[in-house]
Symmetry: D2
Subunit: 310 residues, 4 copies
């Protein structure tokens, strides 16, 4: 019987990078939260405190800033790939790298003379996310978003569930359905191989356009699918994305069921035909599922550094 080091990784978390592209009089800004995670020959640092192989997290932070200056910052996916390739390519002791990015969106401030050239207001809806993983076996890109809060005030029912001795919930043909969508989708292998990319692959239309399109598909499927269960809405959202995007191998969702309870107003002599609701905090339902192609290439380590997914 011996004791040994198991799986491990380390990095610099939450490097807050703002990049201003001032090459034209109309500025463009990118606002990112970048975290790096490296894996490799790290036995000695754990067991003996020998830092020979330990590319410091401070250096990782510097690298984020320096590469932003050297290459500019395009789509979050591109910048993540740049970083992941750098860490695995330049440091023999680093065998794998994952780069997580959050992107915060900004819009130009509207003025009486049109959108301002260098004044911005943050558009606070969802946060865009990317996790790029690279190791000797390849590269994987998982794009996504978190915090896209949606609600349907009709076309949602919930019936036909099993009744056990602990079941009190009434069936309903009309409830509010609300959730905060976290979605993560994995691009198929080959998406970044020149020549082999499908027509709709991100290179063709661009990462940013792909992002907007997936978000739009998710929103529209949520809106237009009559819902018998939140799981059904989830699956419809995933199916809508995979149907249209051959460059996406799978999409995973984590979605709370943000319960809205119709308030009992009978004690006050009032009816409540689904008009007045209490929006509850805890507990909440939580559903998580992947929708995938049956011929999807193997995910490899793509999901290893994506927190909070099944």
């Amino acid at each position: 019987m011996g004791i040994r080091l198991g799986r491990n990784e380390y990095g610099k978390a939450e490097v807050r990078l703002v990049h201003v592209d001032r090459s034209a009089s109309v500025h463009r800004i990118k606002d990112l939260n970048v975290s790096t995670r490296l894996r490799g020959d790290m036995e000695a640092v754990h067991t003996r405190g020998d830092n020979t192989n330990c590319l410091t997290t401070d250096t990782q932070k510097n690298t984020v800033y320096a590469l932003a200056r050297e290459h500019g910052v395009g789509a979050a996916e591109e910048f993540g790939l740049l970083l992941a390739r750098h860490f695995t390519g330049e440091h023999a002791s680093v065998h794998g790298a994952a780069v997580e990015l959050q992107e915060f969106a900004w819009q130009r401030i509207p003025t009486s003379e049109g959108p301002h050239g260098h004044a911005f207001v943050r558009s606070g809806a969802e946060t865009r996310t990317v996790v790029v993983t690279a190791d000797r076996g390849g590269e994987w890109v998982v794009s996504g978003f978190e915090g896209l809060t949606v609600l349907k005030s009709a076309d949602s029912e919930f019936r036909g569930f099993p009744r056990t001795r602990f079941t009190t919930l009434a069936e309903t043909g009309d409830r509010i359905l609300a959730t905060d969508v976290t979605a993560r989708w994995r691009y198929a292998a080959g998406w970044n191989a020149p020549g082999s990319a499908p027509e709709e692959a991100p290179e063709a239309v661009g990462w940013d356009a792909a992002y907007e399109r997936v978000k739009g598909l998710v929103l529209e499927a949520f809106a237009t699918t009559p819902s018998l269960a939140l799981q059904q809405s989830l699956y419809a959202m995933g199916e809508a994305v995979l149907r249209e995007r051959p460059d996406i191998a799978e999409i995973r969702f984590s979605m709370p069921n943000n319960h809205h309870f119709a308030v009992d107003l009978a004690p006050f002599g009032m009816d409540n035909p689904n008009v007045v609701f209490h929006a509850a905090d805890r507990p909440y339902g939580r559903i998580e599922a992947a929708v995938e192609r049956d011929d999807a290439p193997d995910a490899g380590p793509a999901w290893d550094s994506v927190p909070g997914f099944v």
Copy 2:
């Protein structure tokens, strides 16, 4: 020497109300977080646990839901006034009431057939706020917002400040200026007296239109005012509002200075002409100020229940 009860108030905090107007096939939703604060003859409950005068916070919560059903929910200001008048009007032991509201904005989900009729996505930018105060002396409405995050990547400098033995900051003619604007404005007395309301008063154009206009003025002033200090931007924002809105007596701001530090890339042989920034967390500057009319009517208790203002 004796010990006695001093100032006091109590209420139900954070009643999460969602109201669905289903009177047309296109639904309208209002999503509010309502807190009530009552003041009155509360000596006995504190000193003897005698609850005779203590309108329970549970009843206050029920009242929020019941009045929402009875009257519907219009502008947050209106609903706040409705509640405040109810508490002070119906309960002799209640001498004053303040109602705080936060409103979360939603938009219809865009679909290929246009905006959906009953599916919504939360638009996450700023949160609208209202504090209505009513007592035997009158009524006061303070509207506002919080969490409006803005940034200028040019036209901001900071110079001419005193240099003491603890000053190290360099002067700069070009820095990023960024802040999360919290603004609260007080409508002038008389705004709700029929006949006496100025033409631009909220009754005329509506609370919601007034809100959007003030927000627009604040944004535009931030964008278009070349800034020598964040205080100067603040004052310009307030002045722009007061100039155009005679129905507003004063406006107060609380604004962090969200420091963005240009990263020193010289160790890597790179320049950094204000392109790559570290967005810092703490510490941050914080400025708070009121801009007011010199003939503004007395604020009375209008600000007593507005948290976090000077």
Copy 3:
């Protein structure tokens, strides 16, 4: 009619200072979050962007660190006084200063050889708070804590409250009473005048001992007072402090009523004699009150920079 600057203040918020006293082999650490707020002749910076009088917030931050080195860091109250006196004493344009401090407590890590000399674990209960205000009229110290979470599983009832058309709450002779106590107490004027200090004043027994004693009194009063209302518990807590501490002029509390609802288990054929509870989030009751001496000296600006109090 003119537009003008109203009340205003500015400063550096949340300077995170850790001070290590290494003068002995057993180290002592102080972990503070310091915010400064200055008031004075700040018209020009707001209206013209003229920074001549604007002691920069960066300098304020440097001052926190420099004075920590110069004088060491004793009780949070002492360090706050040091800073407030510095800002008002050294800068003619600064007429008043408030210094807010949060202190995070640490304990030595227990080892088989006793408490360790330089390894610490944070004791996560309440956070100690101090707000020191100084201007040309004097000095005020408000000490306190936040986040002291307490619960009574017996000796709490709630009855005799008014029943209106919106009242549904049942009376109860046995409920859980739970709250997160935020307390702030103001020391009486004269507390720091040599010779005039009462025997129990902070100088005599020390700020830290005074803090511990007040916290102990609050806890014991909460525990031992049979409660007919949370307000009554609050008042008893305040009274206990003022009875024993002549150096304290008043004490204010802000306390949520953290509702614990007995779960209805009847549908499962079970009783629930106050054994199984759902701890709810929102909404919650909130009570705020001051307990004071009838001969307390005037509070002056002592509470102006204390956020969130009535």
Copy 4:
């Protein structure tokens, strides 16, 4: 090419349960946050909205409360096992269950007559965590804690790391080492088989005693290990636990490096021999690693529902 459902699970998150044991005049309280996650035949609910197999999350919530009443609440591990066995044992469509628990610790309030019998104060340090997983292949228990914040003001150095073109960090023989320890340890298979349990297994000494002992070992190892790298401290902490606890198969840590930067006071003519520090927020280092026995039984799905681990 087809589209299909991939991995999925669902449940009720954050059921806030407070259980009061009133069987003696001295009460005992358990304060838990319970989340359930079920897996099974859930194809139909996703693809067709057919809820036949979908044990509702509302029923899951009710089950938490009902079983708490039926069996009482002992150690969090025991209660988690009770729930996991219930869900997999009673519902054919449920193939696997994971139960996450957070436990918040409370202490009796000290009074002049000793610890109070039914008044408690929350001891705010770390939060205890448990994840129990059960499926047709067995049962797994992962215990742990999060938010144990520790700091060493001496005996920490960091040297010998690689210097690349992006390295600016200076080597140091004396720095503050600080982190918030999140630890999770998996008990070895067999720990709960009567007769086969090692002498020190949780059944023998109890889950609660095991928890306290592991926490104590982690703290002592952090305190007494001179640190050449945070990774080394981590490994020493894990090794200390595995050496003494044969019932534990592996332990995993996730630890930020809470950077404390010595403030440069030279501009003010002061030295700073590691006395005055700025405690930084972001970015921070983050290290994650497992320490394990080389003969540890397979982890099976033990970690599948443990969020945020490599």
